[in-house]
């Protein structure tokens, strides 16, 4: 009887099964990597006094998106339609004609209370719908930051990843002759605007690093003749020495939560890695090897630290647990590998490789696999990640002592370009998104 039941069920199942529908599925595994064409007309100005702000904001947004390499802002001269009211849907066919795929319409208006109000909408030209609409209020002097925030919002809406335009870069500004080089700590916006010198150049400053949660920098300086790690608060301008150690401390880097600083401490010619709790100012030693251990960098979850060491005979990259246990080598490629920096996204470690008389920037997975070299210079070193883990900045030293520059490159190896700095610059460190 049971068998009969099964047989009937089988019959029913066959009868219920619809005839296989023969829908053709086309496997699209190749595309055409090109920046997205986007139209960003000058923002509408309700009053004659707002014209400049509207033009400036649109200009900065265009420059931001173009610099990312993922967008191609179209020439405003090619626009057919003039946007006069951002609360009316644009005539999309006018924007399709110039092959724009995205359209940004915006308005900048000074309010009676003295604040600047900026609204913008992002339109999907082919879908004929609004993708995003946001409004900001700020002091008029702050218009540049609003422009960067607009760029970040557009970037995030279209790529699905957080932007990095409303960020700052701290770097070492270099000037003067090669033998008496003046090195000053400087900070500027991500696009090179608003450069400010934080130190006066009377003492050497090296390896500035941003706190990932606040506008605070850790760096190494020779203020009192001996190299020491200092903290600098960008908001207050306050500077303090981090601990009082008998010997030199260098190569500082914050933990992802900003509560710890890992750094190297040198004693009797042996460098080891220490970590300091900024709240209690207590230090813990993490490595005990007679080799030189330096350049620590935390994983974004704070559980691991990558660092460089010559304990195996040559400078290579290692990973250990955040308490110093289980150190193991991950770089086994050619040449020497150093200055590892863990991506904020966690998927990659950027590093500097010395091989065949060239120094270049590359990335590898945290287990050491998938090594790829990115930069194409003669001497590129000291990578730093954008807060979204998509872009790297680094120092490029020009051949023949012709100075140093800051360059950026996409993690795919595309879009390698120079970052504008006042004069020679080195050792960039990327800030988190400004709060």
């Amino acid at each position: 009887m049971r068998l009969f039941g099964i047989a009937v069920a089988a019959l029913l199942a066959i009868a219920a099964a619809s005839p296989a529908s023969a829908t053709l599925t086309v496997d699209v595994n190749q595309g055409n990597i090109q920046p997205l064409p986007i139209a960003i007309p000058d923002f509408v100005a309700p009053a004659p006094g707002d014209v400049a702000a509207g033009q400036n904001i649109a200009k900065v947004v265009r420059a931001d998106l173009e610099r990312s390499g993922l967008f191609r802002p179209l020439d405003p001269n090619s626009f057919i339609e003039r946007i006069t009211n951002i609360n009316v849907a644009p005539n999309f066919s006018n924007w399709r004609v110039i092959s724009a795929q995205g359209l940004v319409t915006g308005q900048a208006a000074l309010q009676p209370d003295g604040r600047l109000r900026v609204d913008f909408r992002l339109w999907d030209v082919y879908g004929g719908s609004q993708m995003l609409g946001l409004q900001y209020f700020t002091q008029p002097a702050n218009w540049r930051r609003i422009a960067h925030m607009v760029s970040d919002a557009i970037y995030q809406r279209i790529t699905g990843e957080k932007g990095y335009f409303d960020t700052r870069i701290v770097f070492i500004s270099e000037s003067g002759p090669a033998l008496a080089r003046k090195k000053r700590l400087a900070v500027m916006d991500e696009d090179g605007a608003n450069p400010i010198f934080l130190t006066n150049g009377s003492y050497i400053v090296l390896t500035p690093r941003f706190n990932p949660t606040a506008q605070m920098i850790a760096y190494m300086s020779y203020i009192v003749g001996k190299p020491r790690v200092y903290l600098f608060d960008l908001e207050s301008g306050r500077q303090e020495k981090l601990g009082d150690f008998p010997n030199m401390t260098f190569s500082p880097r914050f933990s992802p939560d900003g509560n710890f600083v890992a750094m190297s401490l040198e004693q009797d010619g042996n460098s080891d890695i220490y970590v300091m709790d900024l709240r209690t100012r207590k230090t813990a030693r993490l490595t005990y090897d007679p080799g030189i251990d330096t350049s620590p960098s935390f994983s974004p979850d704070g559980k691991f630290i990558t660092f460089e060491s010559d304990r195996g005979g040559s400078q290579q990259i290692y990973v250990m647990n955040a308490d110093g246990s289980n150190p193991h080598r991950i770089s086994f490629g050619k040449g020497q590998n150093g200055t590892p920096v863990w991506s904020p996204r966690g998927d990659l470690i950027a590093f500097t490789k010395v091989e065949d008389a060239a120094i270049r920037i590359g990335v590898m997975r945290p287990d050491g696999s998938g090594e790829r070299m990115l930069s194409t210079g003669w001497e590129d070193e000291g990578p730093t990640w954008s807060p979204n883990g998509r872009v790297l900045m680094f120092t490029r030293t020009l051949q023949g002592g012709r100075g140093s520059q800051i360059w950026s490159i996409d993690v795919t190896g595309r879009n390698e370009r120079r970052v504008t700095t006042p004069g020679d610059a080195s050792d960039p460190a990327w800030s988190p998104l400004i709060q």
Partner: protein, 245 residues
Amino acid sequence: MRSSATAERVAPRLGLVVSVLLHAALVAAMFVTFTRRIDLGENALPVVPVDLVTVADQTNIAPVAAPEPPKPSEPQMMEPVPQELQAPQFDIAPEKAKPAPKPQDANAEKLQNLIANLAQHPPANARTGPRAVEGVGAETAMAADLSSVLFSEIRPCWNPPLTSPHPETLVVVYQISLRRDGTVANLQLVSPPYVNRDNPTPLSAAVEAAERAVNTCQPYRLPQDRYGEWRRFNFKFDPRDYTAQ
């Protein structure tokens, strides 16, 4: 004794099962036959002529060949073609030459000539690729052909999402319904089943990139006589080859 008793007990049951299974097979066979018939109804015509047209479409050879319309009035200009479809030699007549073609054969002769020439010296602008013509039957060949036409249409329009550490999570399938003029009538997201566009993620961005590709690529240039085949189909956007490891 015991075994024969078991056999007797089993036999009727076995007969029932066999009978039911055979019935099931019969019903299943009816379905299969029925489906086939419907599918074949529109396209039961010979494949060969259609195939030739498709080659021209796909490889972009047509524009190059166009400036030379066949001129039946000048048959004497033609050189005979060797049997093996080798490259034609215009300066020296081949030794084993066929007799001069009749005027009414000139078109066929020219076409053959052109094909032979193209096979050995494809034009620089030709986008030729391995033709996925599987030898299972006419339908398979046509479907594979149509898929490569659709692929070559969508390819320049799709901007694959880059740099996600997990590209395998960004595969997007869209069902496309096209009008007869090749414009998009409807777009239906098949996989992932749903995305929240107000909360942008790499996946929602991949879905929108796929949507933009489908929209910006229209109208699709496809063979009109086969509208029944491309009226509705799926595009599976797979960025795995592009994304940084």
